[in-house]
Symmetry: C2
DNA sequence: GTGGCTATACTCGGATAGTAGCTGTCCGAGTTGGTTCGG
DNA sequence: CCGAACCAACTCGGACAGCTACTATCCGAGTATAGCCAC
């Protein structure tokens, strides 16, 4: 069970955008330089965030990405599931209905207990991430962080 | 983020073994037939469970696998991490220390907030699975399940 | 009849190919901003 | 001097190779059993 490396990119880039004025846009190339990442592949991940509604993209000169919603309404779960997908890690393939020990369909009306426990664990994971918003992250950053981020992004 | 398909196999096979008398051994071939799975690959996963101490293997005729500990002391987490590994899904590669926006090592004494939140979510997931033992699973099965499992495994 | 030995069949254990999904890259469509030319 | 049209550069968006890790398979080492032979 491994999250894509790009998950870290998405989380940090979203946090970066959250530190800027709401209307300011940042290009994928700028973000890639800011974190020393492959620009094209990073752009691909940003597109996933746009598709999920987390970011908004603007084309043309002075274009780029900005947050699609206020930081308080963007949870870490939104970002992670935007780049990794929403399908749960454990997928029950109903092997209990196959082979010599196959159970009858009647006995399988209730969902498999093991699948239920795995789903509960996944729910705990999602709840933990859904309970943290970008606003919460910003609150824990040093006070001078936004200004610093703005300057470094501009190349200063 | 996806768990191997064999995770389901390991969970079900461990549950099956937990329904049998403690000394009874079941071969990988028997388990493969019981769930209609590729015998060799299933055997490989059983080896991982043995390496983790969840199961004990006996070679030779009348040999096979059995639980390595009482069911109450085997959690779902033990089984899942035996086949999938123990490394957390989110791996912080410290991109905050790279590129134009690189932070100084001093500012990175504390672990990255995002990594901490991801680790907390992973901890919630592990705690959820660690809180369920095979004994708990057995308690939720129908009363006639162990007898049925024993018969079907024997080919009856 | 009994004990020991041998051969056998069955078990696990590790080394070896095949395949799907993440990683990384490239080029094209669209849009905005600046420039230039005419009035 | 002012306005509009044109050009150009920069942006995102989607289509195309490369590689790691899960999936699947085979064959070899080891062992407890069952049969057999000698006593």
């Amino acid at each position: 069970m491994k999250l894509p490396t790009s998950t870290e990119w998405a989380l940090h880039c979203a946090t970066t955008l959250a530190q800027l004025p709401a209307e300011q846009t940042v290009s994928a190339a700028q973000l890639a330089a800011y974190y020393d990442l492959p620009p094209a592949y990073l752009a691909k991940q940003m597109q996933l965030l746009v598709k999920a509604g987390v970011l908004t993209a603007t084309t043309g000169p002075r274009g780029g990405f900005r947050l699609g919603r206020p930081p308080a309404r963007i949870s870490l779960l939104h970002i992670v599931e935007a780049v990794d997908g929403t399908s749960p890690p454990y997928e029950c393939r109903e092997i209990r209905q196959r082979g010599l020990g196959a159970l009858s369909p009647e006995e399988c009306r209730n969902t498999c207990i093991l699948a239920a426990k795995m789903a509960a664990a996944h729910r705990a994971w999602r709840d933990s991430l859904a309970g943290v918003s970008l606003a919460d992250i910003l609150a824990e950053l040093p006070a001078h962080a936004p200004e610093r981020t703005r300057d470094k992004l501009a190349g200063r």
